[in-house]
Symmetry: C2
Subunit: 213 residues, 2 copies
Amino acid sequence: MEESKVPLPTLERLATYLRYLNESTNRDEVTISSARMEEATGIHAAQFRKDLSYFGEFGQPGIGYKADELRQRIAAILKVEDTQPVILIGAGNLGSALLGYAGLPQHNFPIVGVFDNNANKIGYKLWNRTIEDIADLKAINRELKSQIAIVCVPNAAAQKVADQLVDAGIRVILNFAPTVLRVPERVFVRNVCFVQELMVLSFFLSPGLQAGD
Amino acid sequence: MEESKVPLPTLERLATYLRYLNESTNRDEVTISSARMEEATGIHAAQFRKDLSYFGEFGQPGIGYKADELRQRIAAILKVEDTQPVILIGAGNLGSALLGYAGLPQHNFPIVGVFDNNANKIGYKLWNRTIEDIADLKAINRELKSQIAIVCVPNAAAQKVADQLVDAGIRVILNFAPTVLRVPERVFVRNVCFVQELMVLSFFLSPGLQAGD
């Protein structure tokens, strides 16, 4: 992405810090040290300080960072200060789980529309939200004005859905279909694949089960 | 992990190749070129060849790789040649979606046990599988002999569950709870956090919606 000069691993860590800060505001943490952040996120304190210095200095040596200011700064960098409405494509099991997941609206990512191509689902309610026909996506998204889509459809349908999303003005896609989506340069995709996660983990298995050791 | 000398990004790419090869065996692809792999996975052909050369040469210049041999070699590296039984902790919406996901058994990761601590769920069936009491995890896993766990519990319960998993002989954890699990050095954790994925994507949003451009 040309607009981005921030490396992806840095963005991923910033998101980790922000998620923690969002959750910690309830706990009245006025200042937060890099040591505390390391404890909470598992990311080294030195890495945390380095990541922040990338965006200008805003901590105080020996005291730490003002939690609320830090949260606002990182939210501004990640463009999540305001609510970002999300649309969900695929009203299957995973789609339903995501729609019911309270963490999304809590972190300013409410799902504002659910779409499917299955006539047995369209018009029915899922978590009190009516499932819309994907054929109406472009028209409905003129109202919803969502730029973020979550794709939870079978592989065979995923590319067609991606094309429809791009046509409806979606700029970024979180893709759960285990396939490579072809989109224009200006559209950004992140893939989550449970099978791949398990394959990577499998590498770290020892040859034999050592239960309870 | 001391047993590992393979960098994590390489492992992640190997998992991508393997997922594709597993799915492509049905399509009677006898040989596969690096160009074809690039087309299928989005990973550059040169990167693919470099990743494989790391484990010794097994392609033929100008012809490509024997798909079946390649699949077996990568499966051996990732230790997914045999079925790896998986246990699932948390019979909520996401847990239910994962239990119903056909991709897991298809790729040799069948979920063989489901556990929860909720008395309203224990003993009931989810996708035709009885939900077990997490208190019985260690005893039941002596039979199941699973080394892989998927954690889909609320944040507040996640660390206790992690401790129980370690005690029951689990070696690797796929964690969906948005919190850092503290586990012994020998146990390996991968975290999937939907909110963080959306935060990273949000960075790539343009200021205004440009629908249908």
